[in-house]
């Protein structure tokens, strides 16, 4: 760590070269601008704020407006072997934009191009579009992206590419890798590349995947083309309780095997996380809770609700109307509960989202719960994205121990380690949609085996000077945990 992080240690030569291609007002070494982009939204970063002077900040912030400007900045950064980290909405939850060694922050939010392709059923948006604002624009024209991540009010659309994100209505609209059609990106050495907007092509490796989940390590995504859908006619919910979480799993597996076209939301809460809702709505105590959400044509929804109802009843599900799910819908962007814990001097809360195939998911669930039980004050688990072959597990951890922010950080990171070790042993993947960042990079080898070496080789070829967000994904720098 640099001794005086609040002073910019940036080389004047680099600055002068950058100012030849970018207007003066789009480059800043002022502490005001550098401090503003220093953190993401993970609790450890908040603990650093709480502790006093922020430990890691960039030396310079740049606000480019064109892909060509990004290209030129990266060429200069390569010439001087300077670290570059692109910055989107600042909503990342895995410490994916930590300026451990200072460097250049490229704030991407001035990329606001918008090209609407109604016939092609897609929209091309600049990297910096706030997701909710982009959705508003599409709604104005009678369309939706169907992409509603909990961070949509602060995150950018390119942030969804580089974390390979997902929204809460994923069963109908897909994961972000299903939504993404094409992109424009600048490679670490400054070359600009595009992918085509064909719906599918058998023309070699799909290079969209070089950037999906890339976290800024393989270049900077400047433009994104995604699918759009007509705004749905209707949205309906069904709620069921099940004697056990296992019964809920079985019902979901049955439902997923029937491929219901309007099924958009599937959320199963285990017996522990269900407690609050079950008390609020006076459902059977000790039961698991399932929300099903449907979007589309009313007649199709009616058919799908009947089919899913049969699947649930076969597994002992008890129908509970729709009010509990509507309550979830109204409050689904509320993250204040976790923030309240994190704001305690000795508290920290955050979610870990992992995934596994159906045959392993229950084991992962038990393994993570049991691993955390001696360490975390509160563990909430739900399963909020499901597929034909498996699903995601969302484990929300609250720890309130120790004396100060430093203790809280240490204790929470220990929980992360215990939980993810357990996940890996039980056969799960350590991240479903938040990414790896520097938080989870330790598990990359366990996650990919030899594939991790392939990733490193690609990184070395594309980024020979290792300038692009080096610590993330465990590719080029030290992991934090």
């Amino acid at each position: 760590m640099k001794k005086e992080v609040y002073k910019s240690n940036f080389n004047e030569l680099i600055l002068n070269e950058i100012k030849k291609i970018i207007p003066d007002e789009a480059v800043s070494v002022d502490i005001i601008d550098r401090l503003a982009v220093a953190h993401g939204a993970f609790n450890v970063e908040y603990k650093w704020i709480q502790s006093g002077k922020y430990p890691y900040i960039p030396d310079v912030v740049i606000w480019p407006e064109t892909t060509e400007q990004v290209s030129e900045i990266l060429k200069i950064a390569n010439k001087y072997k300077t670290v570059v980290i692109p910055y989107g909405g600042g909503s990342g939850a895995v410490m994916g934009s930590v300026f451990y060694n200072g460097g250049i922050c490229i704030d991407m939010k001035k990329f606001t191009k918008l090209v609407f392709n109604e016939k092609g059923m897609s929209v091309s948006a600049g990297a910096g579009w706030n997701i909710a604002q982009l959705e508003d624009e599409l709604n104005r024209m009678g369309f939706t992206m169907g992409h509603f991540p909990q961070s949509m009010y602060s995150a950018t659309i390119a942030g969804s590419v580089v974390t390979n994100a997902i929204g809460t209505f994923s069963t109908k609209y897909g994961k972000f890798d299903d939504m993404l059609i094409a992109l424009e990106a600048v490679l670490p050495t400054g070359e600009i590349m595009y992918t085509k907007d064909s719906p599918k092509a058998s023309t070699g490796i799909n290079l969209n995947h070089l950037f999906l989940g890339s976290e800024g390590a393989y270049g900077i995504c400047t433009e994104v083309t995604v699918k759009i859908w007509p705004k749905p006619e209707a949205r309906e919910y069904s709620v069921y309780t099940f004697k056990t979480t296992h019964d809920g799993f079985e019902a979901i597996r049955r439902i997923m095997a029937t491929s219901l076209s309007t099924l958009a939301v599937v959320r199963l809460y285990d017996e522990f996380e269900s407690v609050f809702t079950i008390n609020k709505f006076n459902f059977e105590k000790g039961y698991a809770l399932l929300y099903l959400g449907f979007e589309g044509r009313e007649d199709q929804i009616e058919v799908d609700i009947n089919i899913s109802d049969q699947c649930c009843l076969k597994e002992g599900g008890i129908y509970k109307g729709d009010e509990a799910a509507k309550h979830w819908e109204r409050e689904r962007f509320d993250t204040s509960y976790g923030l309240d814990t994190t704001h305690l001097y000795n508290g920290a809360a955050e979610s870990l989202e992992v995934s596994a195939s159906w045959d392993k998911l229950e084991n992962v669930w038990l393994a993570m719960r049991n691993a955390l039980a001696p360490y975390a004050q509160l563990i909430h688990v739900h399963f909020s994205h499901v597929y034909h072959t498996g699903g995601n597990l969302y484990c929300i951890i609250h720890t309130i121990r120790g004396e100060n922010p430093k203790d809280a950080e240490k204790i929470f990171l220990e929980c992360v380690r215990k939980a993810l070790d357990a996940c890996v042993i039980a056969g799960g993947s350590v991240s479903h949609h938040h990414g790896i960042g520097t938080l989870k990079s330790k598990w990359m080898l366990a996650e990919h085996n030899n594939g991790f070496e392939v990733m490193k080789k690609i990184k070395k070829v594309l980024d020979p000077n290792n300038i692009m967000n080096p610590p993330v994904l465990g590719l080029g720098g030290e992991a934090n945990v």
Binding site: D30, I31, G89, N130, L339
Partner: protein
């Protein structure tokens, strides 16, 4: 420093920034530096002596038009306890000025305050014209307060209001004081603001009037809410102009219970209109119904704009836009005008001076009305 905002500074410095979705400063400026939560973090850093008080800090803290949308979209608001960083920004501006950091526009503002007692400049001619328009009726103990902002940028709306009062045989006293102090407080001139507020209270408390009708929602908010915080009392019953007209014209008779929205003295015009909720009406006062009920009575067709009530996008800065560029103000208005154009209305009616002026400047002069102008346009004399 900022001790009263300690909890807010912790909460907003360490939140998920969901408020940026609504924030016009971010949407137009597009830097992380102007996120509401990050500006709070900068104020927090200043309070903890982690950063110096500089011109660039001052500039970033002036990048807020006090519209209140950050509170609307605050993550803590989902369960009903939203945080409001705007008073902290106002206080931080004051602290920065107090420490001698004065940007050019702050220095200019200081000159205007010293010379004219407000940020808008010389409003004496507008005030005199307003008084000249107050020609008939009985003095019934009403004092009518038109603030400097309204006098400077939409005095025609207040003239229409006076004409309406005169037609109902009311001749109000026109207030000689026109600065509540709120715009000054918002822009960091706290001591001058408190002094103005005290002078306003002294003036009003000496008046013989028992009712104070206030043209501007912002000034109404200042006198009803901010003065309370300052411990300043006003002897009059304080009424917002729209509520005053609502009370004046809504038919109270039993026979009209079946159609309670009808107004006496007014015809209905066959036009499609929309109402723009200004920041103070919508978010500070949460007054949605009175203007809508009046408007729906005057026109045959009414259209809600795509964002409305508490979520309405602003057309203009909610307070005097010190430090906010002309280009910013144009883009701010244009974002709202897109929604107005989508609605394809004949008129847009609004109740605050800044929104009214922005619509006239950036949209269409002929299609903008204040509530009082809309009432006057549809007014007919009753048969004796």
């Amino acid at each position: 420093m900022f001790n009263e905002y300690n909890k807010l500074m912790e909460d907003c410095s360490m939140c998920n920034d969901q408020c940026v979705y609504g924030c016009p400063a971010f949407t137009i400026n597009r830097t992380t530096t102007v996120y509401p939560g990050r500006k709070v973090y900068l104020a927090y850093s200043l309070a903890r002596n982690e950063i110096d008080c500089t011109e660039s800090l001052a500039k970033s803290l002036y990048q807020c038009c006090s519209c209140g949308l950050c509170k609307t979209y605050c993550v803590y608001g989902i369960k009903g306890d939203p945080r409001d960083p705007i008073p902290l920004f106002h206080k931080a501006r004051y602290e920065i000025i107090k420490r001698g950091i004065k940007l050019d526009y702050v220095k200019d503002a200081e000159v205007r305050i010293n010379k004219y007692g407000n940020l808008y400049g010389d409003v004496s001619i507008a005030l005199s014209e307003l008084k000249d328009s107050n020609i008939k009726g009985e003095e019934v103990g009403i004092i009518y307060l038109v603030d400097a902002e309204s006098l400077m940028i939409n005095s025609e709306a207040s003239k229409a209001a006076i004409t309406l009062m005169n037609k109902k045989n009311i001749k109000p006293i026109i207030s000689d004081r026109f600065e509540s102090g709120y715009d000054l407080k918002a822009n960091g001139f706290l001591e001058e603001a408190i002094s103005m507020a005290k002078k306003m209270a002294e003036y009003l408390n000496k008046s013989s009037a028992n009712k104070l009708v206030i043209a501007s929602p912002k000034t109404y908010y200042a006198i009803k809410e901010w003065y309370k915080e300052l411990g300043i009392k006003i002897k009059q019953e304080v009424i917002l102009e729209i509520d005053f007209f609502y009370g004046l014209f809504i038919v109270p008779c039993d026979e009209y219970k079946s159609r309670p929205y009808d107004l006496q003295n007014f015809i209905k015009t066959d036009k499609l209109v929309a109402y723009h909720d200004g920041s103070f009406m919508a978010r500070y006062l949460k007054n949605y119904d009175a203007p809508r009920m009046i408007i729906k009575s005057l026109f045959t067709q009414y259209q809600e704009l795509r964002t409305n009530k508490e979520k309405a996008r602003p057309l203009a800065s909610a307070v005097y836009p010190l430090g906010i560029s002309e280009d910013f103000l144009k883009k701010l208005a244009e974002r709202r005008i897109i929604e107005i154009k989508d609605a394809n209305v004949d008129y847009v009616i609004t109740s605050d001076a800044q929104s009214y002026a922005a619509l006239k400047k950036y949209w269409n002069k002929e299609k903008v009305l204040s509530i009082s102008e809309a009432l006057l346009m549809n007014y007919v004399e009753m048969e004796k």
